[in-house]
Amino acid sequence: MKNNLQFDFTVDKPSKTVYVTREFNAELPLVWDAFTKQEILDQWWAPKPWASKTKFMDFKPGGRRFYAMVSPEGQEHWSIQDFTSVSPTTNFKFVDAFADKDQVINTEFPSSEWDLNFIEQNNTTTVKIIVKHKTLASLEQILQMGFEGGFTMTLNELEVLLQNLKSK
């Protein structure tokens, strides 16, 4: 069933905009909660074995989520999401930035603008995410922090698979 869920990922290089669309097998209020409540967000935002650790999340316009991506070795990469608009349960927007553990924003990497839309149809919920980057290079930093884990995991899985094939 999972495999039938729509997933689109496109990047418009000239405008440095990433479009991510994903369908979820759940009703809108549930999906909305998963994206907007820190205790649920922390369960899936970081690709395992990395962990997402939200220090605080004030989900309202002008509010802030301050969180870290924690590596398996315990290294913390802090980020900030400043909410600019919240329209329950259809849309919210935020501006993100990298920071240190004291919420001092790292200006070396420009911030990105996020626009998240939620649409329910026939008990499935589609989430459309638009991320406008000032430079595609800022994506690289995200990859270095958040993705490494996910990629390593994929490689590990591949290794196990190869081992299994070999032993046959």
């Binding site: 979820f24 549930l30 690289e140």
Partner: protein
């Protein structure tokens, strides 16, 4: 200053140059004819693109021709694909979280 593919495509003039020479190898003068900016400014962009190893130069008689390193552009796609995988992993995790939440609600 960083010299990689992302630096190369960060500037609108450089992106326009990439688009121009993607079709055919061109001399700096012929490239500059397409822009309002000065010859020096186009030369500067060409130098950065060369340093980023996105374009290559070829001497033909008295002229230098610039053309695109297609392999390098593919690097961007490869790199973006990693980012796609990040989202895939993240969303698969969310699928599991949602299915647990649904069970708890019942």
């Amino acid at each position: 200053m960083r010299r990689d593919i992302f630096q190369a495509i960060a500037d609108p003039t450089r992106r326009a140059i990439i688009a121009l020479i993607a079709l055919q190898a061109m001399t700096p003068n012929a490239i500059a004819d397409n822009f309002h900016s000065t010859r020096q400014s186009v030369s500067k962009h060409l130098r950065i693109l060369t340093e980023c190893e996105l374009v290559k130069q070829e001497q033909q008689g008295r002229e230098i021709y610039y053309s695109l390193e297609i392999k390098k552009l593919k690097e961007v796609d490869k790199w973006l694909n990693q980012f796609r995988k990040l989202w895939e992993t993240r969303f698969n995790q969310l699928d599991n979280v949602l299915s647990t939440m649904k069970k708890q609600k019942k």
